[in-house]
C-alpha cells in the first residue's frame, strides 16, 4: 500500500463549535481527570476507613490522595483518547500507527501522533514547568537575602527547594530528548515517524500530568525531603509527599517509555546507507541517554512504589523500627539517581558536538572517540552511585572503589572535551548565538567537572558534601551543561520548527546576560559552601551574608535573562514573524535540506545516505595535520 504525497484529510468544515468540543480532547481530559480525582478520593477514603492506620492519621489520608492522583491521571489519559486504541486492540481490531487527529492548531492540544507536533508540545510544556521551577529558584534566592528566615517560613523554604529541585530533575530529564530528539531524530534517520507514535504522545501527556501533580503539592503541605526524598523523613512527611511520589513515578514511566521508543527508532528505522558510523553524533547521544532511561527509570518507579506502600499500608521497607533500612532507600535512589544526572548531561554533549562542526565549518573531530566517550559514560554511570554516600557510613569499605569508578568516568567525559577542542582547532568559527551557548558549555562543564574531582575525592568530600559547594557543582553541570545546550538547541532548531527567526540582538543579549549572571551566581557558591553553608537551610552564618546577597542579586539577573528570552520568543515568533532562510546555518545535516515547515511525512522519498553529516571543510593539508579517513 502506498501513500500519496502529502495526504491532508479533508477539513471537516462547518462543524458547529459544540460538536467539536465533544469527543476525545483536552477539555474532556481535564473533566475526566478532575472527575477521576474525586472518584479516587472517595474510593480511597472507603478503603482506608476500615484500616487501623486511618484512625491514627486524622486529617491525613495518603491512601485517598494516592488513589485520587492515579484515578485522575487515568481519567485524563482516557479523556485524551489514549484508551481507545488499547480497547480496540482488545477486541481484535487491526494494528495501526496513527489516531484520527484534529487538523490545524487543534493538533497541538491533544493526542497527536505526529512526532513534530509532539516535539513542539514538549518544548512548550517543558518550558512552562521550567519556568515554574525557575520562579521557585527566585523565591529561594529571595529568602537567602537574609541569614534568618524572614520571607517564608522554614517549612515553606524546604518545600520550595524540594519543588525547585524535583521539578528541574524531573521535567528537564526530557528537556532535550522530549522536544528536539522527538522532532529531529526521525528526520536525521531519514524516517517518517517514531517507532511507536502513540507511546510517544503518551510520554508527553504523562509528563504534563506529572508536572501538574507536583505543582499541586502546595495544596497538601508541600514536602520536606528535597528532590532526594530520603527515608524515613519521607515516611514521616505530610500528604504533599504523595505528590512527589506520584510525580516522580510518572516521570519515571514517561522517561522509560521515551527511551524505549527512541532506542527502537534508532535501531530499526535508519534509512538505507545510514550506518552506525554515519549517525549524527546527536543521535548517538540520544541513544546513550535512552539506554540509561530504559534501565534506570524502572528502579526509580520500584523504589517509589515501596515508599508509597510504606506510607499507606505500613510496609517496612525503609522503616528501621519495622525491619527496614534507610540505607536501602539511599542505595536504590542513587542507583537511579546517578544515571539520572547523566541522562541530564549526555544530550548536552550531543548538542555541542553536533553544532560545533556547523559553526566552525569543520568536520567533527574524533567521531569515534566521541561515540566511545558517550557509551563509556553510559556504562560507567551504573557503577558509581555510592559516591553520593561517602559520609553516610554505608559500605564504607567500598569507598576506594567508588572513588576510582567515579574518577574513571572523567576519562570518557574528557573525550567529549577533546573532540570539542579538536573541532575548534584551526576552525573558521562564526559566533552565532547557538555557537556561543556551545562554547559556554565547554567552560561551564569544565568548572563542573573540575569541582567534581573534589567531591569525588572522599577526604575532600567530607567537608563539601551536603554543602553549597555540592550545590554549585551540580548547577554547573546541569544548569551550565544541560540548560545552556538546551538554549543552543532552541536558537539552532526552533527556526526550523517554526519557520521563523529569532531577533539576533535580543538573543545575544540573552546569552551574555545569562552567561555572566550564571557564573556570578554559582561561582561564589563554591566558596560559600566551603565556608560552611549547608544545602537546604534558610539560616546561615551572618558572615556569609554579603556573599549571599551578591549571589541572590546575580540570580535575579539570571532570571531577568530568562525574561529577555521569553520576550524575544514572543516578539519574534508572534509579532514580527520574519521567515527564516532555507538553511540559515549552512548546515549539512539532513533536517536543513527538507522544506520548512517539514511535510507531514517528512520525506517524499526515503533518502539514501552516503556519508555522515560532517563533510565540511576542504580536504586540504593545512599546517601539517594529517587528514584521516572518516571517523578516525
Amino acid at each position: 500500500m502506498t501513500t500519496t504525497a502529502a495526504v491532508p484529510t479533508p477539513q471537516p468544515t462547518g462543524r458547529p463549535l459544540w460538536r467539536r468540543l465533544i469527543g476525545f480532547n483536552l477539555l474532556t481530559a481535564v473533566a475526566l481527570g478532575v472527575g477521576g480525582y474525586y472518584l479516587g478520593w472517595f474510593i480511597g477514603h472507603q478503603i482506608s476507613a476500615k484500616s487501623l492506620a486511618y484512625q491514627e492519621k486524622t486529617s491525613e489520608n495518603d491512601v485517598a490522595l494516592l488513589v485520587a492522583y492515579l484515578f485522575g491521571v487515568v481519567g485524563f489519559l482516557i479523556g485524551l483518547g489514549f484508551a481507545n486504541y488499547p480497547v480496540s486492540r482488545l477486541l481484535g481490531r487491526p494494528a495501526s500507527l496513527r489516531e484520527k487527529e484534529e487538523e490545524g492548531i487543534g493538533r497541538y492540544f491533544g493526542l497527536c501522533t505526529d512526532h513534530k507536533v509532539v516535539g513542539m508540545q514538549y518544548l512548550i510544556g517543558i518550558g512552562l514547568f521550567f519556568f515554574i521551577g525557575g520562579v521557585n529558584a527566585m523565591l529561594i534566592r529571595t529568602e537567602l537575602l537574609h541569614s534568618t528566615p524572614t520571607f517564608v517560613g522554614p517549612g515553606q523554604y524546604i518545600s520550595l527547594v524540594g519543588m525547585h529541585g524535583t521539578m528541574m530533575m524531573g521535567m528537564m530529564t526530557s528537556g532535550i530528548l522530549g522536544p528536539f530528539a522527538n522532532y529531529f531524530v526521525p528526520i536525521m534517520l531519514g524516517a517518517r515517524r517514531m517507532a511507536f507514535p502513540r507511546i510517544e504522545a503518551l510520554t508527553f501527556w504523562l509528563l504534563m500530568a506529572a508536572g501538574f501533580i507536583l505543582t499541586s503539592t502546595i495544596f497538601f503541605g508541600g514536602f520536606p525531603t528535597g528532590w532526594t526524598g530520603y527515608e524515613p523523613l519521607n515516611d514521616q512527611a505530610v500528604m504533599g509527599m504523595d505528590s512527589y511520589i506520584i510525580f516522580f513515578a510518572l516521570v519515571g514511566i514517561s522517561m522509560c517509555l521515551l527511551g524505549l521508543n527512541m532506542m527502537a527508532t534508532i535501531i530499526t528505522m535508519r534509512a538505507p546507507g545510514l550506518t552506525w558510523s554515519r549517525l549524527p553524533i546527536f543521535v548517538w547521544s540520544v541513544l546513550a541517554t535512552a539506554v540509561l532511561m530504559v534501565l534506570a527509570a524502572p528502579v526509580l518507579v520500584a523504589t517509589l512504589t515501596m515508599a508509597a506502600l510504606d506510607r499507606t499500608i505500613d510496609t517496612s521497607f525503609f522503616i528501621p523500627g519495622g525491619g527496614g533500612s534507610s540505607y536501602l532507600f539511599e542505595n536504590l535512589f542513587w542507583f537511579f539517581g546517578h544515571p539520572e544526572v547523566y541522562i541530564l548531561a549526555l544530550p548536552g554533549f550531543g548538542i555541542v558536538l553536533e553544532l560545533l562542526p556547523v559553526f566552525t565549518r569543520k568536520p567533527l573531530w574524533g567521531y569515534r572517540l566521541a561515540v566511545s566517550g558517550m557509551l563509556g559514560v553510559t556504562l560507567l554511570s551504573f557503577f558509581v552511585w555510592q559516591h553520593h554516600l561517602f559520609v553516610s557510613g554505608i559500605n564504607a569499605d567500598l569507598r576506594p572503589f567508588y572513588m576510582l569508578s567515579t574518577e574513571i568516568i572523567s576519562i570518557p567525559t574528557g573525550f567529549i572535551f577533546l573532540c570539542a577542542m579538536g573541532t575548534l582547532w584551526k576552525a573558521r568559527s562564526s559566533f552565532s548565538v547557538p555557537m556561543l551557548f556551545c562554547l559556554a558549555w565547554v567552560f561551564n562543564f569544565l568548572i563542573g567537572g573540575l569541582s567534581g574531582v573534589f567531591v569525588s575525592d572522599t577526604p575532600s568530600d567530607t567537608s563539601t558534601h551536603g554543602s553549597f559547594f555540592t550545590m554549585a557543582h551540580f548547577h554547573y553541570t546541569i544548569m551550565g551543561g544541560l540548560i545552556f545546550t538546551f538554549f543552543a538547541a532552541i536558537y539552532y532548531w526552533v527556526p526550523k520548527m517554526t519557520g521563523l527567526r529569532f531577533n539576533e540582538r535580543l538573543a545575544k543579549l540573552h546569552f551574555w546576560l545569562m552567561f555572566i549572571a550564571f557564573n556570578s551566581t554559582f561561582l561564589p557558591l563554591f566558596a560559600i559552601g566551603m565556608m560552611g553553608q549547608p544545602r537546604r537551610v534558610s539560616q546561615y552564618a551572618p558572615n556569609l551574608h554579603a556573599l549571599n546577597t551578591w549571589v541572590s542579586i546575580s540570580a535575579f539577573v539570571l532570571g531577568l535573562s530568562m525574561l529577555i528570552f521569553i520576550a524575544n520568543t514572543v516578539y519574534s515568533m508572534i509579532f514580527v514573524r520574519l521567515p527564516v532562510a532555507m538553511n540559515p546555518w549552512r548546515s549539512k545535516s539532513i533536517e536543513w535540506q527538507i522544506p520548512t515547515p517539514v511535510p507531514v511525512y517528512n520525506f517524499e522519498q526515503v533518502p539514501v545516505f552516503d556519508s555522515d553529516p560532517y563533510d565540511y571543510g576542504t580536504p586540504i593539508h593545512v599546517g601539517g595535520t594529517r587528514p584521516e579517513p572518516a571517523g578516525a
Binding site: P320, A427, V537, D615, P627
Partner: protein
C-alpha cells in the same frame, strides 16, 4: 602560506601560564583553604584540597586558554564569502596521548585519594560501624545522637552521661559514634573536618584528633525536616586538664538525667512513632 605555528605558540602560552599560576595558587590559596588546621583530619583535608587544586589549575588553564586562543585566531573573516575550515577528522597521536595522560591523571588521583583516606583513618568522614582502618593507641569514645532537631552527646566511658554541647579534649584521638533516633541527620563539625551521617539503627564511626583549643560549629547537613536549618550549635576543644574537670562536673550535674536514660548502646530502637513532625 604564512600561518604561525599555532600548536607551538599555544603550548608555550599554556606552559608559561601553568608554570606561573600553579605555584601561585598553591602558595596563596593553599593556606586559606577550608576547613583549617584545628585537627589532624582537617589539616589532612586542606592538604588534599591543595593537591587537587594544584592539579586542576593546569587543566582549567588548558581549556580556558584554548577557548580564548581559538576564538581569537580561528574565526571566520569579516565580510565576504563563508570560508571552510580544514577537513581534519582526527589525529590518532593526539587522541592516544590524551587518553594516556587523562588516564594516568585520573588513576593517580584515585590512588592518592585512597591513600589519604586510609592513612588518615577515614579523614574525618563517617566510616560505618566497622571502619577499615582504626588508629592505634587509646581513644576516647563519644556518641553523637541526632534527633529532630538537636544533637546530644554521650560519653560511655564516663558513666554514659549525656550532654547538650560537645566538649572534646585536645590532643586525644576521639572515636565518634554517630547515630540517630528518628530520621537521617548528618553531624558536621566544620572546623574539626568531621562529617558523618546519623542514621537510625546505624553506628557510624568517625575518628578525629583535635590539635588546637577553641570553639567549633556543629551543623546538621542532611535535610531532616522542618527545623533542619535550626539544628546547629557550638562545641569546644579544651585542654585535657580542663576536660577532666568539666566531665566530672557534668557527671554530677546530669546524674539524675543519666539515671533516666536507657543504658548506653551503639544504636537505639526508635519508638515506633510515625508522622512525628
Amino acid at each position: 602560506m604564512s600561518e604561525p605555528n599555532h600548536a607551538r605558540r599555544f603550548a608555550l602560552i599554556w606552559g608559561i601560564a601553568s608554570v606561573v599560576a600553579t605555584p601561585l595558587v598553591i602558595v596563596l590559596l593553599g593556606p586559606i583553604l577550608p576547613p583549617g588546621k584545628s585537627t589532624e583530619q582537617a589539616a589532612g583535608q586542606v592538604t588534599d584540597n591543595t593537591v587537587l587544586l594544584g592539579m586542576a589549575t593546569p587543566v582549567l588553564l588548558l581549556v580556558v586558554l584554548y577557548l580564548a586562543y581559538s576564538s581569537i585566531y580561528f574565526r571566520q573573516p569579516k565580510g565576504g564569502a563563508v570560508l571552510e575550515g580544514p577537513a581534519v577528522r582526527g589525529d590518532a597521536r593526539v587522541q592516544t596521548t590524551w587518553i594516556i595522560v587523562t588516564t594516568a591523571l585520573v588513576l593517580s588521583l584515585a590512588a592518592y585519594g585512597t591513600a589519604r583516606l586510609l592513612s588518615d583513618n577515614g579523614a574525618g568522614s563517617g566510616s560505618g560501624p566497622t571502619p577499615l582502618t582504626v588508629p592505634k593507641g587509646p581513644k576516647l569514645p563519644v556518641q553523637v545522637i541526632g534527633q529532630q532537631w538537636a544533637f546530644t552527646y554521650r560519653y560511655p566511658t564516663y558513666g554514659g552521661v549525656e550532654v547538650p554541647h560537645l566538649v572534646l579534649p585536645e590532643g586525644k584521638m576521639i572515636e565518634l559514634h554517630v547515630t540517630s533516633l528518628d530520621v537521617i541527620h548528618s553531624f558536621w563539625a566544620r572546623q574539626l573536618g568531621v562529617k558523618a551521617d546519623a542514621n537510625p539503627q546505624v553506628d557510624n564511626i568517625a575518628f578525629v584528633e583535635p590539635t588546637k583549643v577553641g570553639a567549633f560549629e556543629v551543623r546538621c547537613s542532611e535535610l531532616c525536616g522542618l527545623w533542619h536549618g535550626e539544628m546547629f550549635d557550638h562545641g569546644r576543644v579544651v585542654t585535657q586538664a580542663e576536660f577532666a574537670t568539666w566531665i566530672q562536673q557534668a557527671q554530677v550535674a546530669y546524674a539524675p538525667a543519666t539515671k533516666a536514660l536507657p543504658p548506653y548502646s551503639t544504636t537505639y530502637l526508635p519508638e515506633p512513632t510515625r508522622r512525628g513532625g
